[in-house]
């Protein structure tokens, strides 16, 4: 009787220790570094349309706008004040061209972290076909700040 009692206590203790150890082995420490979403955008630093005169169109320039960040972005263009560069037109298909001031492009982020997001090809031309060059100040080397702004969408 005494032996059976001690044997049952011993078996119970073993079972209890197995249960405790098995429950301890399930503890897993999970680590992760959560990064802050960021806007990262790539575009040409300058666009040169070469030589052009009133009544004509410039050659077409193709540029690439890339979303390299971890957030969907929207590209817009700041107000163009210069009379000549107000004639700048864009197209996403190289067929129908619209005024650059109307540009509003959405570039999606990449589905996989670390990879490049959406890239949009943009065809640009300086359309001076309807512009009359009456002012002598219109001639010569011209440059204007047309800024492609990338903002969170």
């Amino acid at each position: 009787m005494k032996k059976t009692f001690f044997a049952s206590i011993f078996i119970f203790a073993i079972l209890l220790s197995v249960f405790v150890s098995s429950s301890e082995s399930k503890r897993v420490v999970v680590n992760a570094e959560i990064l802050e979403p960021e806007i990262k955008f790539s575009a040409p630093s300058s666009i040169d349309f070469g030589q052009v005169t009133c009544g004509y169109e410039s050659d077409i320039n193709k540029i690439e706008l890339k979303n390299l960040g971890t957030q969907d972005i929207k590209i817009t263009v700041s107000n163009v004040t210069d009379e000549i560069f107000r004639s700048l037109k864009y197209s996403t298909t190289n067929k129908t061209f619209s005024s650059i001031s109307k540009l509003s492009l959405s570039l999606d982020k990449s589905d996989i972290l670390g990879e490049e997001g959406e890239t949009e090809e943009l065809w640009l031309k300086l359309d001076l076909s309807s512009l009359k060059c009456n002012d002598s100040e219109m001639f010569g080397k011209k440059s204007s700040e047309i800024i492609f702004w990338a903002m969170p969408d």
Partner: protein, 195 residues
């Protein structure tokens, strides 16, 4: 040799368009505080394939107009009574953190954009500024004090009611006790008479 010169001339005739990368984080800067209080937050800027200055500016929408559309952000901070402290000209070479501090005198909800343009390029990035300014601390303190006073008044009223009710309840229990005692005395008296 002739072919090599032709090839080199062919490549030189193409305009070299170098692409640069520009970035900012976080995507939103949320400020919340009281009128006249200076609130600061950090942001990070990064560039690649660019050496030069980044020119910073902020643009704001009309007060209460909250929309993520850069075209409606036409106002300057000064015109809205917003004072800003941040680095406007940055000679950036690597990923760097900066601080922007805002002080606004008038309460309301403001929406702005912090914009950085790479100097001499056609590229700019920005993030949104969400600014929530509550009424002046003194005013809100007065309001909260009056609210506390009202709550205290309610507490006093309820404790006053309890004070009025408590003797009544006490007397009620005393009365029941006395009644029970008298009944027991009567029962004892009759049982003694029976003997």
């Amino acid at each position: 040799m002739k072919y090599l010169i032709v090839i080199i001339a062919f490549f030189i005739s193409f305009p070299i368009i170098s692409a640069l990368e520009l970035g900012i984080s976080p995507i939103e800067l949320k400020f919340e505080g009281n009128a006249g209080e200076k609130i600061c937050k950090n942001y990070t800027l990064f560039v690649e394939d660019f050496s030069g200055f980044l020119i910073g500016e902020t643009k704001w929408a009309k007060i209460g107009e909250i929309k993520k559309d850069l075209k409606i952000h036409t106002l300057n901070a000064e015109s809205l009574g917003i004072t800003l402290e941040y680095q406007k000209n940055i000679n950036l070479h690597e990923k760097t953190s900066f601080e922007i501090c805002i002080l606004c005198k008038t309460s309301g909800n403001y929406h702005g954009a912090l914009l950085y343009q790479a100097e001499g390029t056609n590229l700019g990035v920005g993030n949104w500024i969400i600014l929530k300014i509550n009424e002046n601390n003194l005013k809100s303190n007065l309001q909260s004090n009056s609210k506390i006073a009202m709550l205290n008044n309610k507490k006093i009223k309820s404790s006053f009611n309890f004070l009025i009710l408590s003797p009544t309840i006490f007397l009620f229990f005393v009365f029941i006790l006395l009644f029970k005692l008298k009944r027991k005395e009567k029962q004892d008296f009759y049982s003694a008479e029976d003997y």
